[in-house]
Structures are given as C-alpha cells and as structure tokens.
Symmetry: C2
Subunit: 250 residues, 2 copies
C-alpha cells in the first residue's frame, strides 16, 4: 500500500513550489494533478505517470468522486502518490474530502503546504495584507453569488476583517462589490484585482468598490484574486484615477 | 545600487522554503534575517554576509528603524540583498514599513512569498481551513489583549469567520478565549494549538474555547498558532477528551 502526499503547487510560477514539493515530485511514481498546474512543475515528475484530474464540464460531484477513486486506486498500485493541487491544499479546494476518502480506505496521507494565491498577489502588489495602524485582521473567502445564494454567509467576514481577499470571485465582481457596499463597506474602499499572479500574463487592476459595482470586468483568462481594503490604497498619482469609475491596469 | 528581495522563509522546516527563495539565497551577497530562521536555510546563503536583525530586548521601534537603516546601507554596498523573514513577508511582520523605507531611499524591492504558519499548521493537523458545508471563510489575525487594549479591534473578524487562525496568541490564550466566548462564540468551539509547526519539536494540542478560558497553557518554546473553528473538531475518540477542561497533546 502506497502513501499519498497532498501537495500544494503554489500560486503559478514553477519556482514558487517548495523544495519539499519539488523533491517529492522527483521521486513520485504517480501524480494526479489539477488542470492549472504549470507544465514545468509537472516536468519535475520525470519518472511518474501523470494524470490530469482537473474539474471539467461543471460535473463537480461526479468528478470529485472520480478523484477519490483514482487516488485510492493509485495508492493500491504505486508506492509514492502525489496529489498536486493549485496553491495550498488546505485552503479552498476539496482537500479535506480527499483526505477523508483516503483515510476511510486505510491509506496514509501527508500534506505539504504551499504558497496561496492571496500571498502571491500581495507580493506582486508589494502591499502587505496587514499594516500597523491600518490592518491587523485578514479574511480569505470564496463568495457565492447569484443562483438564489445569500450574501449573508460570507459578507460578514469580509466586512469585519480589515483586509479581505476573495478567491474565485472575478466572474461576479459586480454583485460582490454591490453586496459589500449594501452591507456597509465604504464605497471608496480600494480594490486590487490580480489575475494570474506570478505568471507572465499577470495583470493588476486598481479600482474601488464603487467602480467595481458599476462596471462589468473584462473576462479573465487566468485565476483572479480580489483584494479589498485600505492597505491597497495606491500612491497619490494612482489615487486620482480611483475616483474615476473606470478601471486602471498597472 | 543593489536590489532588495523581501523573502519568506516559510513556517520553519528548511525544505518548506520555495525554490525561488533557495536560489536567491544561493546568490545573495548579504542576508538580513529574522531570529527564528532555520540554520539550514541560512546555510544556503553560503557566499553571503549574514546579519541577524531579529527583534530583541522588546525595543521594537528602535530595532525597526535599525533594520531600515541596515537594509538601505546593504543595498548601497551589495548587489543582491535578501531580507529573509519568517513565514510570508506580507502577512504579520513589518514588511510594508521595510518596503516603504527602501522605496523612499530609491531602492528597488521585490517580494518573494512564502508558506505562512497557518497553512503549515493546517497541513500538520490534516485539517482544511475550509470545508464544504462547514467553513467557507477564514480569518488570520493577531489579537492584542491586556495593557488597556480593547478586544473590539479583532474579535469581530474572529467571530464572523467560520475558521480563525490567531498568530502570536499563545501567551494570552486564556484572555483570548474569554473574549471570544463573551462576544458570542460558542464555548464548545474546537481549538487546535500548533507549536513549532513543521519542526521536530512540533506539538499539537486539541481543546475547546471553554477549556482554554479556564486553563493557563504551559509556556511555549516555539511560535504557536491558535486554530479555532468546527473544522478542527476531532474524531469521536478525541472528542470525549474535549469535554474535559484539560488539554490533550497529540
């Protein structure tokens, strides 16, 4: 019976993988990976069978069951199994369900943490998520909007924290900004959107909740994190643009 | 004029550094590092002058000014300057002040993100900070208690998020648990304390807010993160211990 390593692939750039993760990939017998993992990262697993188990067709529950079955099967037939997940495996994503399924099957699991997208975005922005006198609390969340979902599940956490970073939010940025303003977040609150953080196609957009609530964002090509809070306020030169409802790319 | 890299050293274990950080250390001319960085991590900077700028004697403001001066001076006399900080440089710690001081001096800065302690603790606990149906929002915070400080600055964020991870909180765990219960967090909420996550001396303690509010914790030898929320509820065998006000080490 093999062992399964749930490994964080980091935010995107292949050299933002941890040394431990790189070594595990080098000795892996089989790698089951998310769709968005960088090809150079996968290439580290030179001797491994590599299987893309990225979600497709929106068939989430079926796919997740398939991943569990594939992981258990991989551990029964291989010694070192790497389950490679984007970012960190214990934050957004269904790591717990995978751990539980493996444990139920009596398979040993170890977790290797990774750099999460919010911290990669903060590094790109050169903006600390916390800052003396401005922010001492940070919230990470995945807001769900539309389809009869209520904002009450997530809006309180985004409101109470000095800094909020929203994952998987770009498609609904207008509704999210509207919900935050309606809940009492100042409309002038700065927002920084970071798309494909740490990759060559990275884009940074500086705006405000008010502007986001009015404009539909162009469709993103990579994953986007939405960073909200005073710590993202830009220097004076950029700030005058923030009062304009248009969105500015830097 | 040199360039300064603000680099996350990760949570403790030297192989939880990113590949990018390891390569930067290898080519650094000078490294200014926190006190808690692992000796094996520092050893990567074989050709660099290494300076411990860790805080001491509680003289925080003086020391921070000293760090700024040392960074500017290092950039004036060396090509590749690494400022190595525990965990991630953009989350708790005074990364922003260091960036601002360098920019004011006209020095180029780049930030290399790292694995933060909360994610290392989650990996050790094999407990996802988010979990379908239980937790979709996570807060990271540094509570300040005592010395005339009000809990109102941080308690809302810890209360509103489904999962909360508190940094630098071990010394005041009793007051923190008391403040959270007083603010309305259920006293039965599970708590996992992780000391020296990812290091050989790692300890994990499972308890509840109620038990924490009653017991003084033994003095920690390494950094502790306090993980609060239903996602940390332990399986039945451990759970019966949680009803007991004593603290259990696993």
């Amino acid at each position: 019976m093999g062992k399964v390593y749930l490994v964080g692939a980091g935010p995107g750039a292949p050299d933002l993988l941890t040394v431990r993760a790189a070594r595990l990939l080098e000795r892996a017998d089989i790698v089951l990976h998310d769709a968005l993992v960088h090809p150079e990262t996968l290439a580290l697993a030179a001797r491994a069978r590599r299987i893309d188990v990225g979600k497709r067709y929106g068939k989430v529950s079926t796919e997740q069951r398939f991943i569990h079955r594939a992981l258990v099967e991989a551990a029964r037939t291989h010694e070192t199994v790497v389950r490679l997940k984007g970012g960190d495996p214990m934050l957004f994503g269904r790591g717990q369900e995978e751990i539980d399924a493996l444990r139920e099957a009596g398979i040993e699991v170890e977790v290797v943490p990774g750099v999460t997208a919010a911290l990669a975005a903060a590094a790109s922005l050169k903006a600390s998520l916390t800052r003396r006198g401005i922010a001492r609390t940070v919230a990470f969340l995945t807001p769900r909007v539309g389809r009869g979902e209520s904002a009450s599940e997530w809006v309180g956490a985004a409101l109470e924290a000095d800094t909020a970073v929203l994952y998987m939010a770009a498609g609904a940025s207008r509704e999210i900004a509207g919900a935050l303003i309606a809940a009492g977040k100042p409309a002038t609150t700065p927002v920084a959107l970071v798309e494909s953080a740490t990759l060559p196609g990275e884009r940074r957009v500086f705006t405000t909740l008010a502007a986001l609530a009015e404009a539909e964002l162009p469709r993103a090509e990579g994953p986007v994190v939405m960073c909200i809070g005073e710590v993202f306020r830009q220097p004076a030169a950029v700030e005058s643009v923030l009062e304009n409802p248009h969105i500015r790319t830097a």
